[in-house]
């Protein structure tokens, strides 16, 4: 089955893939993103499209709320008994002919995968889109070992060919529109394999066809495939991958060796539990009743699919997340990305601003926890993430496993401030103390109100405060950079109420 390769493999030298290391804190990254009009238009179109699709297929299920509750309960059961279910999974996968590996962190997981690939004597692998392998930066680890990893999901391929970073869990190239994608294909495909067809248009169907042709030779010749997994059933050892394009089926079926890197929270206890998640995930994710392809396999099967199956169980900070009784909800996440698609902040700034492979609301709670916020100090970028939300609650409303994202965000803010960590500078603390002092006693609040009322004579004009110089204004400067502020009234409600006995003695 050795196929002729008519195009240069050109795997070397492959430049290292970009990573999120060294990204600026959220407000700064957001500012850059907001100034990119094309990006904002792309994001707006994509998120509004998917929102409408999701709502339509969610509304047609009369038992949606019960499914959500069941999904959350199943995941909570998994988390409460994670050690037991992991050992059960290991036993059932092993019994079905697979091999299970345990990886405490990214380095260990990468080393395991590199060892497996090397043991089979190959220098390239095909990959199914997988958040876990992005999280551990597997592609660069393979690259350092002289192994080329080809992303085969269309969007991942767009990101990889464009030397770009993913900006969405489900559609990592959401920040690119069709014209930009065409340009990447034309410029880059030929450098790593079959070039884009001559005269490639920006029609999505033509772009998909170009991807089909480019990747087909890689699928037919690959010996080793690497995947993540959406679910793994402890009871049976069955692993499940949910996808759309068929690149997953190619990777899961054609090569001799399959390596699956699985976050330890991806377990479900029982086979029947899939009946819940196979309803929740596609409807929340792509807004379809069912995604085009779902593959399930249990170990290895004679005469069908890979002969060797390795399952790498990845911790990489998850046990720390589990230790937080509130934050651990984040481990229920099934990576559907509904929270990104409904998030008004994500819609404006896109995924890169979050500085992590996990963007959007789920990223804002998961990334800081995976980076140890519950345990120790974190860098300024990480510490900026819990504030990257208006707490509007659209994410919680959309989450298929009922993760109370706003609750975790405020908890993380408390962890950052109460424990004296994080970005709250001295001015904010002083301001909060001052406000706290005023709220401690009504007379103090009255005093502060008199001061505010007096200030209207200083700053107000026609009842409005226009732009206040940034340096002078502090928070008022930041507020008035984009919007007017009302001048404080001449009299507080409290003063009015006292003066007029609640309006009864009003003239």
């Amino acid at each position: 089955m050795t196929s002729v390769q008519p195009y240069p493999r050109a795997v070397e030298p492959r430049p290292p893939e970009p990573t999120f290391l060294g990204m600026p804190p959220f407000p700064e990254a957001a500012r850059t993103a907001l100034s990119d009009a094309q990006l904002r238009a792309n994001l707006r179109k994509a998120t509004h499209t998917i929102r409408a699709r999701r709502q339509a297929v969610v509304d047609e299920l009369p038992d949606w709320e019960r499914l959500r509750a069941a999904g959350a309960a199943i995941k909570d059961d998994v988390l409460a008994h994670l050690p037991r279910y992991l050992e059960q999974l290991e036993a059932s996968v092993t019994a079905a002919g697979g091999t299970v590996h345990w990886a405490r962190d990214a380095d260990e997981a990468n080393a395991i995968v590199v060892d497996i690939v090397r043991a089979h004597g190959v220098d390239e692998v095909v990959k199914i889109k997988s958040m876990a392998t992005q999280e551990i930066d597997l592609n660069n680890a393979l690259g350092r070992a002289g192994i080329a990893a080809w992303e085969t999901d269309l969007a991942e391929m767009i990101v990889q060919l464009g030397h770009d970073l993913p900006s969405h869990l489900l559609v990592p190239a959401i920040h690119k529109n069709r014209r930009e994608i065409r340009d990447v294909f034309v410029a880059e495909m030929g450098r790593v394999g079959r070039p884009a067809p001559a005269g490639l248009t920006e029609r999505p169907a033509d772009l998909a066809e170009a991807a089909r042709l480019h990747l087909r030779e890689k699928f037919l010749s690959a010996k080793v495939a690497i995947s993540g997994g959406n679910f793994a059933v402890a009871e049976t050892g069955t692993v499940c991958v949910v996808e759309s394009e068929g690149n997953g089926r190619m990777c899961l079926t054609l090569p001799d060796v399959l390596v699956t890197v699985l976050g330890i929270e991806k377990l479900v206890p029982r086979w029947e539990d899939l009946e819940v998640f196979l309803q929740l995930l596609p409807r929340s994710s792509t807004g379809e009743r069912m995604n085009p392809y779902t593959s399930m396999w249990t170990g290895v099967t004679d005469g069908d699919g890979p002969r060797h199956f390795h399952l790498v169980l990845l911790d990489n900070g998850r046990s720390d997340v589990l230790a937080d009784p509130v934050g651990r909800q984040a481990l229920r996440c099934i990576r559907c990305s509904a929270c990104l698609n409904v998030c008004p902040v994500y819609e404006r700034v896109g995924g890169h601003a979050y500085g992590s492979v996990y963007p959007g609301p789920i990223g804002a709670i998961l990334t800081p926890q995976l980076r140890g916020l519950n345990q120790h100090d974190v860098d300024a970028q990480t510490a900026s993430l819990p504030y990257a939300s208006t707490l509007c609650g659209a994410c919680f409303e959309a989450c298929p496993v009922l993760i109370d994202i706003p609750q975790i965000l405020t908890r993380q803010r408390a962890q950052l401030t109460d424990l004296g960590r994080g970005p709250a500078h001295h001015a904010e603390k002083a301001a909060m103390r001052a406000v706290d002092w005023a709220f401690g006693q009504p007379w103090r609040l009255g005093l502060a109100q008199h001061a505010a009322s007096f200030s209207r004579h200083v700053v107000g004009r026609k009842g409005r405060i226009g732009k206040v110089p940034r340096l002078l204004g502090g928070p008022l400067g930041r507020w008035t950079a984009a919007r007017d502020a009302p001048a404080p009234p001449s009299e507080s409600f409290r003063s009015w109420h006292k003066r007029t006995a609640g309006g009864l003695e009003e003239p």
């Binding site: 407000p27 504030y387 709220f439 505010a452 984009a482 009015w496 109420h497 006292k498």
Partner: protein, 261 residues
């Protein structure tokens, strides 16, 4: 029924007219409200910014102040949500010595705190509050009243019963306006971008007045529209429900439209 008004620190200081509207409105409906002077704040800003200990202190004084009342009405969806949703969270972190008493006080007071439209529709069971406001109005459901409290269409039911008021639909109404408390200054650019999109939706609606149950969000949206000289006024729900005739600074539309909703 003993009714207390929780004005909120923000309305008290910045938007006293809204408090006066609540008092006048309820008086018109035959109810006197107490205004306990010991009240200050619900602690939301502290809680949402991460200052939980400070928020807890404020919450203690809140439940103490309002304990004697059968119902507490407040012209703020987000402050009502703070008390009902987050005070139980604050109970969880309270010092063991005082936790039981605090929990009991929260359990007694928090469920009796109502946002204005909830209070009118659910407690007083009114829909027509006898108001008149012959102008075109769009209603923005603020996030906390929409998602935390679940006030649903109560404000719309009240507005539809206002004489002369023409209610127009706000496109993409359930999208956050971008205020978000300290988000508005910590992530000022993103907040402003969201505010501009909301303002665009308001203009699209054709409303003369944008109405909501939270002056904080209205201050943000109104501030954006004021900067743009958009010519659209923002008004709290209470101010419209207390109104008994045309607003002096607004045009009225031709009488043929008055029947339209």
């Amino acid at each position: 029924m003993r009714i207390a008004l929780f004005i909120t620190c923000f309305n008290d200081t910045m938007f006293p007219e809204t408090g006066k509207s609540v008092v006048r409105l309820l008086r018109r409906l035959g109810h006197e409200v107490d205004f306990p002077y010991a009240q200050t704040c619900c602690g939301q800003m502290h809680f949402n910014t991460g200052y939980r200990n400070e928020a807890r202190g404020i919450a203690r004084s809140f439940v103490e102040t309002f304990a004697p009342y059968d119902a507490v009405v407040t012209p703020s969806g987000s402050c009502a949500a703070m008390v009902r949703e987050q005070y139980p969270v604050l109970v969880g972190g309270a010092a063991p010595a005082t936790a039981a008493g605090f929990a009991e006080a929260v359990g007694a007071v928090a469920p009796r705190v109502y946002e204005l439209s909830e209070f009118l529709v659910d407690v007083l069971r009114v829909r027509d509050v006898g108001a008149s406001f012959p102008h075109t109005v769009a209603y923005h459901p603020t996030c906390h009243s929409l998602r935390s409290l679940g006030v649903g269409d109560r404000p719309l039911r009240l507005l539809r019963a206002v004489r002369g008021l023409r209610l127009v639909a706000l496109p993409r109404a359930d999208e956050c306006c971008g205020f978000g408390g300290t988000f508005a200054v910590k992530n000022a650019e993103t907040s402003a971008a969201m505010g501009r999109d909301k303002a665009a939706a308001v203009l699209e609606s054709g409303a003369q007045v944008l109405c909501a149950g939270d002056n904080s969000c209205l201050m943000h949206i109104g501030g954006v529209m004021s900067r743009q000289h958009a010519g659209v006024r923002v008004m709290h729900l209470a101010d419209i429900l207390a109104s008994t005739g045309p607003h002096p600074e607004l045009d009225t539309f031709p009488s043929g439209d008055l029947a339209a909703r």
